[in-house]
Symmetry: C2
Subunit: 551 residues, 2 copies
């Protein structure tokens, strides 16, 4: 037995050794950015598990650039842990032989390069996760040795102010700092005193003022000018056929024009149906600019956010009754808590996808592109651990109850909203997901599915709503899906008699079955038709990024 020997302190010893090496480069906690690459070479070791912060929005981009500059002969075979693979430097790590293995959640623009790296044998992708799953593993079997994070500002002690874009930082830092790991932060500036403390100084090892402010992508901004009347129609069906039908008060919206259309119809169409206060009062949602008119109309009581959105800072600070803000007035986002809220405290998740099969399985992974799923699998899964009741959850549960002698349980509403054809006339409905081929090329046992069909309760297209809860067997389910799949080959493959029978039973509902005439579905219903309208609705508080300003 080695009761209190170094045998049990290999992590502490490793950290001490790394800090000792670092001291030769940078004697203090505050490190000049010109020394960053050397610092990284000093603290890193081959085969380290390295967490590089970056999500859809905030990116530790300077540290990513520095990491891509370390000498691959010294630092190699790193095992990367990342919420998102987004920057060219992220894939460059593998091209250069600095890193060889990755566990991640999402890759947007780098999806094709990731696929190429797999083909070239330069990367081992262990798994694609949903965010909260990856965070969970940071505390079990994927605890980082070194974490690179981004904050708005630090003080002299190293306390961090993450401001509105706190995002993944608390989860990453806690897992690293409390298991002998090293935390290095890039900040935009040093301040004598911080507006508030988001991360305590003693959780942080090194602070580097980056040459440029960290990159933030305004990913959740949708220009209302690009919303089509088809999308208005679908949004009307969702509001009347699902939100009003179940009384959905607590929810999350995915990213996209489809759901932006819903947000913009709340103060107009939904209000005209008398739904104010009855639906959409509590949200787990980034501060979507498209939500401004609904907030101003008094539709929204509370919004907790995963991250922030560029340009929304002043508006959020002026609406502290709605958003979670600190004593300094700016927002505190937190992806881990917002994902827990999205999973457990919301009655509905609605999002879009690239492909849906005849079982209702959907995926954004298509041929030649390894993307990922972000928060969708967590929020688009029935929360089987949930126990509290709400009207929406109980009603969905009753509809799903097939066998009267089984014990009743509630059910989360999980809605997929897609036009039957995507851009370039690619069908959204397919007989077989591309994910099957991707599984082969990535060496996965299971195809990378975003949301499994048995978790989906409704599919909405311009042709109508298919309520999968009411289907009583696989055949009904398949025909309900074909019955809203329009002129895709999946839609054309329907059994018309069965589809008619399902419609008669209310399993499929067309717009007219909901009392919605297609002529009503006009862009005039949108509470804002342009970004400028959103700025106006905000009383000038919303300050959109320049790319969204065309006036």
């Amino acid at each position: 037995m080695n009761q209190d020997s170094t045998h049990w302190r290999t992590g502490q010893q490793s950290k001490a050794d790394r800090l000792e090496r670092a001291k030769r480069i940078a004697p203090a906690k505050l490190v000049d950015s010109s020394l960053a690459v050397a610092l990284l070479e000093a603290v890193l070791q081959p085969r380290d598990r390295v967490c590089l912060e970056g999500n859809n929005q905030k990116q530790a981009d300077f540290l990513a650039q520095c990491l891509a500059k370390v000498n691959p002969e010294k630092i190699n075979h790193l095992h990367m842990l990342q919420s998102v693979v987004a920057l060219p430097e992220h894939t460059a790590l593998f091209e250069k032989g600095i890193a060889s293995e990755i566990d991640f959640s999402f890759s947007g623009p780098q999806g094709a390069r990731l696929a190429n790296l797999v083909t070239a044998g330069k990367i081992k992708i262990n798994a694609i996760h949903t965010y909260l799953e990856l965070f969970g593993r940071y505390f079990v079997d994927l605890t980082p040795n070194v974490a690179f994070i981004a904050a708005e500002a630090a003080d002299a002690q190293g306390n961090l102010y993450t401001g509105p874009n706190t995002e993944d930082t608390p989860a990453i830092v806690e897992a690293t700092a409390f298991k002998n790991g090293i935390v290095i932060v890039q900040v935009n500036d040093l301040r004598d005193s911080l507006p508030r403390v988001d991360i305590p100084a003693d959780w942080v090892d090194f602070v580097i003022v980056a040459p440029r402010p960290n990159y933030i992508e305004p990913l959740f901004t949708r220009d209302p000018a690009q919303i089509s009347e088809i999308q208005v129609l679908m949004a009307m069906m969702v509001i009347k056929g699902i939100y009003a039908e179940y009384g959905v008060k607590r929810l999350n919206h995915g990213i996209g024009f489809d759901t932006a259309a819903i947000e913009l119809l709340l103060p107009t169409y939904a209000e005209s149906l008398g739904l104010k206060g009855q639906i959409c009062t509590h949200w787990a949602l980034n501060p979507h600019p498209a939500l401004i008119p609904a907030i101003e109309a008094g539709f929204v009581q509370s919004v907790h956010s995963f991250g922030s959105e560029l340009g929304m800072e002043k508006y959020i600070a002026a609406r502290p009754d709605v958003f979670f803000t600190g004593a300094d007035g700016s927002m505190r986002s937190n992806r881990a808590f917002s994902q827990a809220a999205g999973h457990y405290a919301c009655d509905l998740f609605i999002g879009s996808t690239l492909q849906i099969d005849t079982f209702g399985n959907s995926s954004t992974a298509t041929k030649g592109r390894i993307t990922g799923f972000g928060g969708a699998p967590n929020m688009g899964a029935d929360a089987r651990g949930r126990r509290h009741e709400s009207a929406a959850w109980l009603k969905a549960g009753r509809q799903a109850q097939h066998k009267p002698n089984h014990i009743p349980r509630g059910r989360k509403l999980v809605v997929q909203m897609v036009e039957t054809f995507r851009e370039h006339m690619a069908p959204a409905f397919v007989e077989r997901l591309d994910a099957w081929d991707l599984a082969d090329s990535m060496g996965l046992n299971n195809p990378p599915v975003m949301i499994y069909g048995d978790d989906v309760t409704h599919i909405v297209t311009e042709e109508g709503i298919a309520n999968l809860l009411l289907c009583r067997n696989d055949e009904e389910r398949e025909q309900a899906i074909r019955g809203v799949a329009g002129y895709t080959s999946v839609g054309l493959g329907r059994d018309q008699a069965m589809v008619d029978a399902l419609r008669a039973r209310g399993v499929i509902k067309r717009a007219e079955d909901l009392g919605i005439s297609i002529r009503q579905a006009s862009r005039d219903l949108l509470a804002a038709k342009t970004v400028k309208d959103l700025v106006r609705a905000s009383g000038g508080l919303y300050n959109p990024p320049s790319r969204f300003r065309n006036w």
Copy 2:
């Protein structure tokens, strides 16, 4: 439109008004304990949502006592939010008319009083939650107006050191402090400098040094002397028939002697089967003293904890390779992250229950006692949002796959481990759960089930293991359960021919089918037979509470 008027700042204004009233009682952040009741009367308002910290372990007991002393004519109809209802003061709030409504997760010793309060019409129980679900709602529709929390120490600024028992504090404080709420903390002492900062000062409004250190319950300590040979037998079946069978490396154990027996067999029985390094390497688990021999034997690589356990402080500090500890050497627990880890990063949850029905539904809610479920619903539910693969998860998923044309997915292993009769010869297997009656008396739509049958994969009793994954219909499932239900009336109601057929198929496995002879199942196999043995195994580092010292 009220662009930036007070209309959008009612929460901020309310907080300012409360702080103004408080200033008349206590002008500074540090408040003398003699003024605590007056402070509470100043900051609280009728119908406030009030979060009172306390879980299985750490309790904000002084603040609970103070809250029970406020004048119910001034402060009433509080809506309580609590992880656990544990102290007499918690129920006294309702008896005195200070509080009238509650959302909670678990009630141990106060379960009978809770039931009486319901009968007397003095409490409205909105719902029983699993912890992470309740935390999630703090960010959506149950955000606290005031939170009462407990920490080990504070410094003059109000930075908090929560030490090993961080537990629920970060989740509660974040939800309250960032939505215009007031955070009041009781600490055991004030220090010039803290060993580390767990909660930053600017998240905290008032600090009170309590007259006595906060109460902590050593809830996860099980005396090995009380483990029976039946429990040894069941533990052997679990190790060989489930852990080895699926290669379970990442897991969570419930509380109890059954799972303590498994922990104590790892360095003996499991080691003899060559399973070291093959099973039980990574845990989401409180620091169970029963795990000490397995840790010392090198079985365990990592443990992340929901909370700490009294007496384990020095042992944890001496094993930083295994536990999550801060730079000060003491543990940082965090219930929210450990629950996320338990849900998403573990391949198996095993726990016990009071009642199981013939569908496999289980509940700890029995007649006349409103208890709750703690973390079990979250960890004992198939994590349908999980996407990363592991051998155990894939194998369970393959066994659950009934239809070859369905898309494959993995599956969490959820094991219920019970002796067929509990104490006082109460059968663990019942035709109908008491939860049905409880639902009626509490006004719930659904019976309060701890783990739903369709999430359970295995039931283990002294009679054997029923693998529910391999059952192909409701009838097989029912007979598999009856087939391990022993001499309970559920067990006696079995169809012997079907049970024999299920055994032939390996759906039911008896000890002998696993190559385990009942004579092997001796207490001699336990790596520690007494608490003293545990102390010895720890090299004297484990310091059990006096009630566990009988030498």
